[in-house]
């Protein structure tokens, strides 16, 4: 199996999508970011330049370009270089794309995929560090996935492009260089399925996106202290795989919810609420939340670090959940 970084894997997923479906089409550029991994996009351009278009800086109409085209049967992949740019298309995502199928009573679908780079990314500052997937999740009609590694990125993008629903793929900007073995062939990872990324018996860290990577590192560290951490990657916030999450907490009896969306009404809040509602009696201790604190992301490196959920905060949370 070849090694791929996340940028290469997502481009690979995209290439397979375009190969398999003549209705697949791309709106946007810079799909592999502007960092050291950006060359991954070259393969895509080489094979499919004619199916890619570079739109103006008009996020709202560009979203509708995708939605409207999807309503005629196309499967557009619409890329936003930074998730916050899509704030200009908020209405088009949550109040147009999301409603197409339901409000027509199933007469018509909008199989569009929106692809956004999110996250505290190093120097993004107050306006460019947004991770809006908790906000999107507080709205029906959108499938939302957050790949935490190359293999998932490829399989989830393929599934997003094959889905008949509007789907948002949230890629953490700092994961683009992450490398692992990725199958060369075409495959999909079903939307809405969590994955236990590490088995453990003492505490469940329920996480997604970059926090999964951090949780895995924290787990390695905690193993040395005799704490056996289970890491559940929810992969998708909509639909949410409640069964897998609840099963893990029923097993360990303790939970840490770790995620980079903001604390209030964020993904970590939802995970704790879900577990409290469905598995309250299985909890042996209060759940612990690791999330982005309620402050804009400052530019200065030490300040940015202070607001970033990360390995040591997750490890501390696990210790706390385990009464250490």
């Amino acid at each position: 199996m070849p090694q791929m970084n996340l940028a290469e894997a997502l481009i690979d997923g995209l290439i397979w999508s375009l190969r398999k479906d003549p209705k697949a089409t791309i709106i946007g550029r810079g799909m592999a970011g502007h960092g050291p991994e950006h060359h991954a996009e070259d393969r895509l351009k080489a094979e499919f330049a004619s199916r890619m278009v570079d739109p103006p800086t008009s996020e709202a109409a560009v979203a509708q370009l995708g939605v409207g085209a999807a309503m005629t049967g196309m499967r557009p992949f619409v890329h936003y270089g930074t998730a916050v740019f899509a704030y200009e298309a908020w209405n088009q995502f949550v109040n147009e794309a999301a409603n197409v199928h339901y409000m027509s009573n199933g007469q018509i679908k909008a199989p569009v995929t929106f692809h956004l780079f999110h996250g505290i990314r190093g120097g993004g500052g107050p306006q460019h560090s947004g991770s809006p997937y908790a906000m999107y999740a507080n709205n029906p009609g959108l499938e939302i996935v957050m790949p935490s590694g190359p293999r998932d990125a490829k399989g989830l993008i393929r599934a997003a492009m094959a889905s008949d629903n509007p789907t948002i793929v949230m890629q953490h900007a700092l994961l683009l260089g992450l490398t692992e073995e990725v199958p060369e062939e075409d495959y999909m990872i079903p939307l809405g399925k969590a994955e236990v990324k590490r088995q453990g018996k003492d505490v469940s860290v329920i996480a997604c996106s970059r926090s999964v990577v951090d949780a895995m590192e924290a787990a390695t560290e905690l193993a040395k202290e005799g704490i056996d951490v289970e890491v559940v990657d929810i992969r998708s916030i909509a639909p949410l795989d409640v069964d897998t999450i609840v099963a893990s907490v029923r097993k360990t009896g303790r939970m840490v919810a770790a995620d980079e969306t903001y604390e209030i009404c964020g993904v970590a809040s939802e995970l704790i609420a879900t577990v409290s509602i469905h598995a309250w009696s299985a909890l042996k201790a209060a759940p612990v939340r690791v999330a982005r604190p309620m402050t804009p992301v400052p530019f200065s490196p030490p300040l940015e670090k202070a607001v970033t959920p990360g390995v040591s905060k997750i490890a501390d949370a696990c210790r706390k959940a385990c009464g250490r």
């Binding site: 103006p56 509708q64 370009l65 939605v67 999807a70 049967g73 209405n91 409000m103 018509i108």
Partner: protein, 333 residues
């Protein structure tokens, strides 16, 4: 005048009558039924709506706004199912999930009604993109009001359509009033200065003149088909005095075709609109004055349409409300 045959003109008139009688029935339904939501009626816009519908070919697509009923009917949706939708019934076009503001009928090409100002124009631009990518010969229509030009997304969509050369026909119904406001709030001298600045071919037509509108839209659609590029048509209309009614009312009364010939009988505060702005009465008069049809013929047509709407109403009112469980289905495809 035009070289159109009598049949074509009568066919348009029938669409217009259906549109008008449909809306009048909506007012009656609103007076009778408690839960009907707020309505934005298309009365006064029939010449434009019918002309647009007649310019459409099978496979063409159209997206509309809150003021959508006319288009739903003109493009051929079943009026019974449209009434049922407005009443939130099970047999509604959208199964009761959409209501007046979201009527659509994919079988007639009416892909959606977005009730967000700027929704239809951007979606229709996207649909045109989809059609173009698929190599279809079809074109896309965007219906919207003058107030839509206030929205940034409208400007963005116009720019995209022009830049990417998309086959979309922009139908701007300028009723000189955005929503309930006295006038559009665009600082442009003419609405068309915006598409003009974006290098979109544009024209203006008296949107209450059935013949003029039909000819204009036939030409405009032909331009879009042959060039593959967008065209913007501004349709001037005098706003129907009932448009800003929060509660249902008949400020201009139920339309009486006879008034086309008995202008002296028209009185009251909205006499001016009825006399010179009502496209139905204008068309009625034109038919008879040009000898194309007689008063009796038109009255007979009207009677048929009225019966049709009566039957449609009965169908809708007989339709049950959907089961509550239906609320939870169809979120995802």
């Amino acid at each position: 005048m035009t070289g159109a045959t009598r049949e074509v003109r009568l066919a348009q008139f029938e669409r217009m009558l259906r549109m008008r009688r449909f809306e009048e029935m909506v007012i009656r339904l609103a007076q009778k039924h408690e839960y009907i939501g707020r309505q934005h009626l298309h009365i006064g816009h029939e010449a434009t709506g019918s002309a647009v519908a007649m310019a459409m070919q099978p496979g063409d697509k159209i997206h509309t706004t809150h003021r959508n009923h006319g288009y739903v009917i003109a493009t051929g949706a079943d009026p019974g199912r449209a009434f049922a939708e407005i009443l939130g019934r099970n047999d509604g076009l959208n199964g009761g999930k959409g209501g007046s503001w979201h009527l659509c009928d994919v079988s007639t090409g009416m892909l959606s009604t977005s009730a967000m100002v700027g929704g239809s124009i951007a979606l229709a631009t996207g649909a045109a993109y989809g059609l173009k990518l698929q190599g279809a010969k079809n074109i896309s229509f965007a219906h919207f009001g003058d107030g839509t030009l206030d929205e940034g997304v409208c400007y963005e969509a116009l720019n995209l359509a022009s830049l990417f050369e998309l086959p979309v026909l922009f139908v701007c119904e300028n009723n000189s009033k955005a929503g309930q406001r006295p006038s559009s709030m665009l600082a442009a001298a003419r609405l068309r200065d915006i598409p003009q600045a974006l290098q979109i071919e544009n024209m203006i037509v008296d949107g209450a003149d059935a013949d003029a509108a039909r000819v204009m839209f036939a030409q405009a659609a032909e331009r879009v088909r042959s060039t593959g590029k967008p065209v913007f048509v501004e349709c001037t209309l005098e706003r129907w005095p009932g448009s800003h009614q929060v509660t249902a009312a008949f400020p201009t009364g139920v339309t009486d075709l006879a008034l086309a010939f008995e202008q002296e009988k028209i009185s009251g505060k909205h006499a001016e609109w009825i006399k010179s702005s009502d496209p139905i009465l204008r068309a009625t008069r034109a038919f008879v004055e040009s000898g194309t049809a007689t008063r009796d013929e038109l009255a007979a047509l009207d009677a048929r349409v009225t019966t049709l709407m009566e039957d449609a109403r009965a169908f809708a009112e007989a339709s049950p409300f959907p089961e509550p469980a239906a609320a939870f289905s169809g979120v995802f495809a």
